[in-house]
Structures are given as structure tokens and as C-alpha cells.
Symmetry: C2
Subunit: 330 residues, 2 copies
């Protein structure tokens, strides 16, 4: 007999309910917001066959659902606080799947200081589809926007770029230069696709040093375009300074390069930092243990955006990645 | 060519962006919460073929997505403030559908004092699926819960019960006594299924008078059970006092009665009111123009819950309604 919605809430989600959730026995949750903070709200939906694959471990699907939101909060300079989850499931969902999913949520509660505030569980024709709305706190008036960049600000990116895109290619069994990587490295790339590592430790640094920031989910270049546009600027990116996913950094193949810098699911942070604040930002990031690379600069909007590699323009078919239903993943 | 997600946001959703949404050009929105209020947060997901039908007008689908949440806020004594929306669409979505959907959102912004704070638009294999998280404000410390009822409190319900269930039966072409109703009345029942009428004007009255409240979305009787259980009570309901959907109120058929009081999609308010506050509540509701009916009473938890009709127990196959994928609605 399929689990009913009430069973699912009682058995699986209620144990996660945090302060203000009233044991998920009410119609709504309550959030207390101190007047010293702004409440930052973000929402992301992930769907099976689009943002994750049917055979992906439910533990990591849960983590992905939370972390894509936590990554947005971090980019805005906000500390994670609480979330609500809407969970669309089809009738074939199994108890083991749910139990593992909930363990994934719980593990991330501890890791990110999150609590569950409320939710909704519904039947859908083709699931699972998970929508999370996450709430975070930024110091009053200090939320970091995409729009604060100015010409001359330096562009930084955290971590390594392209791991998510290659992880997905590996999961889909797509042939490519990644096939030559050692087994352990391929597993690490797949793990990166499954479980983003949001840069929460950067949030206070962005508040202190950045003029603009966003998280990179739809490809580095397209997201640079977005930050630049929101700031009324254009961006110059020097691809030889972009830190590429381990094992692929030494590539000389422009097509592979293009794929890495326009593929999705990085969940790293792109930040614009005024030049006078750059030394402080770099040393604070080093102290926080977050690798940051300077990859380019914002220019006046009238200048054409440029993506160069060793001094020449890099030819990009598409600048951004679009998440869409994957072939052959049923 | 299918619309891409960016087009959809720019052309359709951006014009709805409210204060703190930053033109939907950022990764998150910001909410300011005055220290005199509690922030009340609720979320509901609605899916095609489950909560609405593929041929339902998109204008009313948008209204339903918002109003099921507004109804929850009203039941908690909260005034609607802002919402985020996650919108899962399949590739066959048409511009006309989207434009009409957005007109529905916009109409309800004006009606309920809501604004759009953020969102996410994604491709899903089988859509549309819409998740709304709504935020409202209740006077500090005065949010109304399901759990505050006490034995002896009177149970009230707003409006008429069963219209949503009959509207769905009519839409599905299911034969029943509703077929004998005049055309205009049948249309009104269908309209009720399509577009809930949340009782926002009751919110301040619930804060002032109710010990517990919730909105009725999954059948009156099952929802009475839920409020009673959350309050550590059981409920006595006298069905002859339940105000039934127009044209069906005079029924003598226990099966039809049972269907009306256990069917979904009423979106009326169930409130428990201490007897000493009942006269004040009744006159305030009358003044606010909201019809309220006294349908029963809370008893001690040790007493068995009863549902009687003209003095005899009414036989109910199921006490609650479960929203699930509908047959024959493709």
C-alpha cells in the first residue's frame, strides 16, 4: 500500500521540525527576526531527470535540494536559518528512499545550522520534485547584491570550476577526456555533481569586502554576464586564471575548456571586489581556508564583454547552461 | 522554439516583482519584519492533474496557487505580505498560458496586498507544478494555532461546505444529484473549485476571539479531527448545522452528505472559540460580513469523536480527502 501524505509527514518529516515549526502540526511556521538583521529569502526547485537522476542516492538528493538554496544565501552574505520544503512524490516512492532522503536533510541541519519550519507533501504524476524556500539572516542593510559591482572591481571565484558539468557527463556515460582520469578522481567529480559544497564560510567576507556577489549554478561565463549586467558593467574574463576541476586543469582543448566554464552545478561564489579591498579580501579568504582565484575585472557597460584564453578570444557556442530534462535517464 | 527560463522570468514575472525582490535580478529577496509582528510562513504545492486540471484556466490556476497559501495565513491570524514561487513547467508550455497565469497572480496581488519576492522557473517532465511559499504578519505573540482549543470551546465554520468537492465532480463529468442543479449554480460550484475564496477578513477576528483555527482543505470532518487532536481534544459535529453548498443543503441522502463534509477544496475557516467569547465573535463576524455557523463543540480527548445527523451517528467511509492524480484528466 502506498504511504499516505500524513504518514510521510508524521514518520519522516516531523522528527526534523525545529523551533517555530510547531511539530509540523500546524498550517504555518513562525520566524522570529531580530531587528539587527534582514531576512533573506530564496527558493529553488529541483526535479528528477532535470537536476538529479532517478538513481541518485536520496541522501544526496536531499542535500542538493537544501544546498542549492544555502549557496544562494551564502552569496548574499546571509547565515542559514530555517527552510520550508514542498515535496512532490509519485506513488511508487518507497519508504527506504524517504528515510534516506530525510537522513540527508538531517545531516545538513547540523552542518549548516538549518531547521525545518514547515512543508507540504503532495502526489505528482512524475516525481520526485522538491521545492525548498530557505531563509537566512544578513546584518541589517548589508545584504550583498548582484548589482553593486563597479567598473574596475576585480572578479574572484571560489574553488574549482567545471566539476559539476563533468560529474554529470560521467553519470550519463558520455565519452570524453574525463574517461582517462583515475577512478577516484572520477568519483570525486560525480560527488561534486551530487552534493554541492556551498561556501557558507564566505558569507561574512562578502558582507565585509564584496561590492557584488552571486553563486554560480548555470555556468561561470553566463553567471559573470548576469552579475556584470545587474551591475551595469561588462566583464573581462581571463580563462587561464580560472581554476578548473582537478585533473582537467592542464587541458589545451578549447572545446573542453568551453564546456567547463559554461557547464552547470558548480555552486561556487563569484564576487566583485573593489581593488582597494582586494588585499584584505584575499587574506581573509586565505584565513577562512577558502581558495579564491582572481579571474577578471568589471569594465564599463559600453565595453564588449571578453572571454580570453592566453590572449585570444575563446569561442563559446553557449555562455550559460540550461538545466533541462536529460535524455536516457529514465 | 520553447521559451527559455530567462525569457519567462524577464517577460512574465519581472513586472510582478515587489519591494525587496530587486527586480528578480538577484539570487534572493529581502523581507523587513517590524519587531511588533511575527513572521508567519506557509508553503503549498499544487500539481496539474492533482490539484487542478489540464484545461483549467491558467488565470485561476495562478489564483489557486496563491490562495491556498493565503487561506493558511488567514487561519493563523496573519495578514498576507509577500511570496516566492517555484514554477515547474514542461516544454509544451505556451506564451498565452503564461501570460494568463501571470495576470491571475497580478489580480491577486491587488486583492490580497501580496507582492512577489522571488522565484525559480525550471523544466519538469510533467507540469505545471507550482510551489508557493507565502509570508504574512501576525501581531507579535498572537499567531493562532491549531493546538489552542480546550474542551467546551465551540466549533465554527465559515461559508458553505462541499462546493469544492462538487465542483470537481462536475468538472470530471461524474454523474450525481448535482446534475439536477440549474446551469448557473453548477458553474458557481466549478468556480469555487477553481478559485478558493480565502477568508482574509477573518484573520483579526481569529486573533481576538479564537483559541484555535485552521483552514479546511482536506474535508471538514478530517480537518475537525486534526484541530481536535492538535488541541488534545475530540470533536462533536452536528451535521445538520453544517452549512452545505448552495442547492445541496436540503439533501436527505447520507452518502451525498458524507461526500460534502469529507470532500476537499473548501478553503473555509474552522475556528474553536471559548463559550464566553462566542457572542463577541459572532457579532464581529456578522459585522465583517462573514457567515459563520456553529457546528459543534470540543470535548475531552477521552470522549470518542462523534459526527451526528439529526441525532444519529453518520456513517463515514473516509473522514478526510486525499488529493491524488485524477483519472481521465489528461
Amino acid at each position: 500500500m502506498p504511504l499516505d501524505e500524513r504518514d510521510i509527514i508524521e514518520r519522516f518529516f516531523r522528527p526534523l521540525a525545529g523551533e517555530g515549526a510547531f511539530g509540523l502540526l500546524d498550517d504555518a511556521g513562525r520566524l522570529d527576526v531580530s531587528p539587527d538583521f534582514d531576512l533573506v529569502v530564496t527558493t529553488d526547485m529541483i526535479a528528477c531527470k532535470v537536476h538529479f537522476l532517478p538513481r541518485d542516492p536520496p541522501f544526496s538528493v536531499a542535500q542538493k535540494a537544501l544546498r542549492v538554496n544555502v549557496s544562494d544565501l551564502a552569496a548574499k552574505g546571509a547565515e542559514p536559518l530555517a527552510y520550508v520544503i514542498s515535496f512532490g512524490i509519485s506513488s511508487e516512492i518507497e519508504e527506504g528512499w524517504l528515510a534516506d532522503f530525510v537522513r540527508g536533510l538531517k545531516a545538513d541541519h547540523a552542518r549548516f545550522g538549518l531547521r525545518l519550519l514547515g512543508g507540504d507533501t503532495v502526489r505528482v504524476p512524475d516525481g520526485p520534485i522538491i521545492s525548498v524556500t530557505a531563509h537566512g539572516l544578513a546584518p541589517k542593510g548589508r545584504m550583498v547584491h548582484r548589482s553593486g559591482g563597479r567598473p574596475g572591481d576585480l572578479l574572484y571565484v571560489s574553488g574549482l570550476i567545471g566539476a559539476g558539468a563533468v560529474g554529470l557527463a560521467l553519470l550519463k556515460g558520455e565519452a570524453g577526456p574525463w574517461d582517462a582520469l583515475p577512478h577516484a578522481r572520477r568519483d570525486a567529480l560525480i560527488a561534486h555533481y551530487h552534493v554541492p559544497q556551498p561556501r557558507v564560510e564566505l558569507a561574512p567576507l562578502l558582507v565585509a569586502y564584496a561590492s557584488a556577489a552571486m553563486d554560480i549554478s548555470d555556468g561561470l561565463i553566463g553567471d559573470c554576464d548576469k552579475l556584470a549586467a545587474a551591475s551595469g558593467c561588462s566583464a573581462d574574463i581571463e580563462v587561464e586564471h580560472v581554476p578548473l576541476a582537478e585533473g582537467l586543469g592542464a587541458t589545451d582543448d578549447p572545446a573542453l575548456l568551453a564546456r567547463l566554464i559554461t557547464g552547470g552545478d558548480d555552486y561556487e561564489i563569484l564576487a566583485a571586489v573593489p581593488p582597494e579591498k582586494a588585499p584584505g579580501f584575499e587574506s581573509a579568504a586565505e584565513e577562512a581556508g577558502v581558495p579564491m582565484s582572481r579571474i577578471g575585472v568589471l569594465k564599463a557597460e559600453s565595453a564588449a564583454p571578453r572571454v580570453t584564453w592566453r590572449g585570444s578570444d575563446l569561442n563559446l557556442v553557449a555562455r550559460a547552461y540550461t538545466h533541462k530534462p536529460q535524455e536516457g535517464t529514465a
